[in-house]
Amino acid sequence: MITLNINKKTHKIDADPDMPLLWVLRDIVGLVGTKYGCGVAQCGACVVHLDGEAVRSCVTKVSRAAGKSVVTIEGLSQTNDHPLQKAWLDLDVSQCGYCQAGQIMSAAVLLKENKNPTDQDIDDAMAGNICRCGTYLRIRDAIHLAAKASKK
């Protein structure tokens, strides 16, 4: 039995320690906001926070998360009012939406560590999150908007 802290709630998980965290989150805990895109850490759709770091849950074993804090897109804010979530709505960033949970989770770590990122900082942080619909320009604008809003 593995004990996980997910979005500030404790869960006891009966699973193989080598099971990818993504499967645990989606299939066992029922948090389906985090998506499966490639399964090999190459698309970023599966990004969640593990002790504040943007890990790829499709390749992260659930045993690595034991005793640590896991935050999914559902837990990023209590009432979906994280500055990034608001900016995403304000600028209508999403098209199909499949990659966007991972995009937001990566952007959240960027803004936590760099409150005023340049375009280059955004490239360096977000280059691992791909979007088949091509919403990159609005993602960049939304990050800048959220950074500005957080300063107020």
Partner: protein, 214 residues
Amino acid sequence: MKQDLNSPKGFSRKIRTIAVLTVLFSLVIFMGFGIEHETKTTVVNIKAAEKDSVASTKAFMQVYKVLMSPRCMNCHPSGDIPLQGDDSHLHAMFPKRGVEGKGVTAMKCMNCHQPKNVPGLNTPPGDPNWHLPPANMKMVFQGRTPAQLAKQLVNPKTNGNKTMEQLIAHADDGLVKAGWNPGEGRTLPPLSHAEFKKEWIQWIKTGAFAPKDK
């Protein structure tokens, strides 16, 4: 006519002689310290009897083959993006070195690279401490000639502050050994780890000589 050393002229000659001898003696002492200092920064604790420049450079050329293979060189790039694959192309998604060599913000090395290899082709290889050298001491291998690399490796100012003893121990570092367990689809270095370690120690213990560049 024999000079009377007790006469005024003879006395000043005496003083001049003593002064010259003192200066010469001091120069010899200072030069001695200088040579000793130079020796300490390059080779430590290797007895003169063990030094063998021919054996040392021969061993280093084997070491060089390994260090310049993709499994080692890919994480010792000349730029701030690691290399990837047997063709050492720039790592997909362009992760950046960062100050500590651990990546930046949402693209830290261990966000994707796990403590162990992820199974399957085209998945991230793993190690509990996946990282690049830090920005203030990049320990570049890419593009280095044998002479340049050898000199870089023995100098604590460019080798991660390692003594010769630590350099020997570094052959058994976890991330170094991960090069011989690279995951599916990646070729191994040209020597086995045991062979590499033998040549590494041989190079160091016979004097850590740098081969001459052609």
